[in-house]
């Protein structure tokens, strides 16, 4: 009998000495010695580098502006976890829920690539850094160029979608 909802974790084996109640990842981490000597060496070396960075920022406080640097650093962290990823998850859920089967992969590919390219191009398209006195900086019409790039990605995804649609038609019901 097939157990509905069975996960690969169900059939994981655990090594001797590993608490069988742990989650698979915890079991793996413990089994692989996640907090062994490598971890402590990495921790020591890593925090030396972190302290070099912190020292540098405070030592050059007039240039680095520590408060604003850390505000941006922590702010981006929170923004990613609290806004960006949930938004992406919501979008992914919506696509998964409403896109027809044959369109699912092309839609996911389109959203991922277009999203990343648009994110990179945002400051260019917004012309935030353009100076009329400096024509060789940001020399293109980036909104136009971004549309061209997104158009190429769309064409590629349309090709994927057509292939996927044909495949669905060939599949038995």
């Amino acid at each position: 009998m097939r157990r509905e909802g069975a996960k690969p974790d169900d059939v994981l084996t655990s090594s001797p000495g590993i608490d069988p109640e742990m989650r698979p990842q915890e079991r793996l981490e413990t089994d692989s010695g996640a907090h062994g000597i490598t971890f402590w060496i990495g921790l020591a070396v890593g925090w030396v580098a972190i302290l070099i960075g912190l020292f540098g920022i405070f030592d050059h406080a007039s240039q680095a502006n520590p408060f604003k640097v850390f505000r941006l650093l922590i702010g981006l962290n929170i923004f990613n976890d609290a806004v960006v990823v949930p938004l992406v998850l919501g979008l992914a859920f919506a696509v998964h829920r409403w896109a027809p089967r044959w369109l699912l992969v092309p839609a996911q590919v389109w959203l991922i690539i277009c999203g990343v390219v648009s994110l990179y191009a945002y400051p260019l398209v917004g012309d935030f850094g353009r100076k009329p006195s400096q024509p060789s900086e940001l020399p293109f019409n980036y909104a136009h160029n971004l549309l061209m790039v997104l158009g190429c990605i769309t064409l590629f995804c349309v090709g994927l979608a057509i292939r996927s649609w044909r495949r669905q038609r060939r599949m038995p019901a």
């Binding site: 604003k68 941006l72 980036y142």
Partner: protein
């Protein structure tokens, strides 16, 4: 009734097709294979609060210590409930491990090339870029910017893949785990900071950065790399296990469970998924595709064959006066009047036997040397050009200075402005291709390119190729 609701353990571990799989080690031969405790806990939610020996809430509850225990148990229950909502196969250890390797490589390359570039731009006494190869700085800067840009999809995808790990209970298991999780703040925040400020910098968008970009970017890079080293130390064994197939997922993938269990939307008959979304490898390919699109549309600002495809590059190396981009204009530097003045003189002094002052005509009358040298900007673009002017060793010989002297060149600009002067190390000063250039691409220097005289030397950052030179001092 479904066995999940009876609280009884299932008969044994089975795969998605209902076939029995190998029992866990330790099961007695002949006896029904014992299901994984994890499975029992997942399937029988009634046992959740007390199921785990490490559960702080359960331990406190056993001791009957007040209200914390049920609260804690409830928290675990809630966290577990949230965590189980992430059932996409893309939130997988294998994917996280592979992307982690990719990010580790790209961030290491980015850090090392950035370190070279920062030292080249702010050279301490012990560091000088070599004169040859003349394109070294051009390559390191180009690699730095391009790997940074290509890391954007990789980083965002990795953060999405590991997002369910955000919901773990208890949040920390022990001191080591607490330190490991604490080190994620500098790693994730630093990585996002580096990529965000890097992109803003190449787009000349400085308003979101109320600090000096180079200083903040450099020191936050140390913080990020520190977090990365801690993370590598914590995850290297796990990554090795997962990627080499000794980890749980790949063990199930290869030996124990049909592929559709690991990737539930894979058709077991054809081994190809259809209609359930991207597979893990498909997701990886898509992320790589995003990075490739960014590479192709940006790299042309430094790789000539890709120039026509550089639709999203902040620069085109052939767009600008005399077919060369300009970073700081003469009007922006407020030097126009002094630069075009008939009273312009170049002063050469310092530790030399015959200090001299040259008019522009006298400079033109000196022996001229042509050199094809790149100009490479710290923002990632670079372009080769033909320069013509007085070789610095020739000038030093003329004024009776040692060939291998350290030289300071000063611009007409206000000397309080950054990069209004620069130091030339002895190796560069002795190189015949280090020029005080008067011409660019066959015509007189344009005012925005440093008329009347500018420095151009092999393998130096563009900001140190001082324009509108008025004084050369032998140190």
């Amino acid at each position: 009734m479904d066995e999940r609701f009876t609280g009884k353990p299932p008969v044994g571990p089975v795969n998605g097709l209902g076939q029995p799989v190998d029992p866990a080690p330790g099961d007695a031969p002949g006896s029904p294979p014992t299901p994984s405790p994890f499975t029992r806990r997942v399937l029988n939610r009634a046992r959740l609060p007390t199921g785990r020996a490490r559960n702080l809430g359960a331990r406190l509850k056993d001791r009957g210590r007040g209200f914390i225990a049920p609260l804690s148990a409830r928290s675990e229950h809630e966290v577990e409930r949230i965590r189980r909502r992430f059932h996409s196969p893309l939130h997988s250890e294998w994917l996280a491990a592979v992307m982690g390797i990719g990010l580790g490589v790209s961030f290491t390359v980015c850090f090392l090339t950035g370190l070279i570039d920062y030292l080249a731009q702010h050279p301490p006494s012990w560091f000088h870029l070599p004169v040859q190869p003349i394109n070294l700085f051009r390559v390191t800067e180009g690699v730095h910017v391009l790997t940074g840009i290509m890391s954007i999809p990789l980083l965002l995808a990795k953060l999405w893949v590991v997002y369910p790990n955000f919901f773990t209970y208890p949040p920390v298991r022990n001191i080591a785990h607490a330190l490991e999780r604490l080190s994620l703040v500098p790693l994730v925040g630093g990585a996002l900071f580096e990529l965000a400020t890097g992109v803003a910098n190449i787009a000349y968008w400085y308003s979101p950065m109320p600090f000096v970009f180079t200083t903040a970017h450099f020191y936050v890079a140390w913080i990020t790399v520190g977090g990365l080293v801690v993370h590598i130390g914590a995850k290297i064994s796990l990554t090795r296990q997962v990627v080499s197939g000794r980890g749980a997922e790949d063990a199930t993938l290869r030996d124990k469970v049909p592929v559709e269990l690991v990737e539930p939307h894979i058709n077991p008959l054809t081994n190809r998924g259809f209609g359930k979304g991207l597979t893990r490898r498909g997701f990886l390919a898509t992320v790589a595709g995003g990075a490739a699109v960014l590479f192709v549309t940006v790299a042309g600002e430094t790789i000539a064959p890709l120039r026509k495809l550089a639709l999203l590059a902040p620069r085109n190396p052939v767009i600008g006066l005399q077919s060369l981009p300009v970073n700081r204009t003469a009007s922006g530097a407020n030097v126009i009047d002094d630069a075009v003045s008939s009273g312009y003189r170049l002063v050469v002094d310092g530790r030399c036997k015959r200090p001299r002052t040259f008019t522009l005509d006298e400079l033109r009358a000196l022996p001229q040397r042509a050199a094809g040298l790149p100009i490479s900007c710290v923002e990632g673009w670079s372009a080769a050009a033909e320069w013509k002017g007085i070789s610095l060793p020739t000038l030093l010989k003329l004024v009776g200075a040692k060939r291998s002297s350290q030289i300071k060149v000063e611009s007409i600009e206000d000397q309080k402005r950054p990069y209004s002067n620069s130091i030339i190390d002895p190796q560069h000063a002795a190189d015949p291709d280090t020029l005080l250039a008067l011409e660019l691409n066959g015509s007189l220097l344009d005012l925005d390119h440093g008329y009347p005289v500018r420095l151009i030397a092999p393998d130096r950052p563009g900001v140190l190729q001082t324009k509108w030179i008025r004084r050369v001092t032998v140190l």
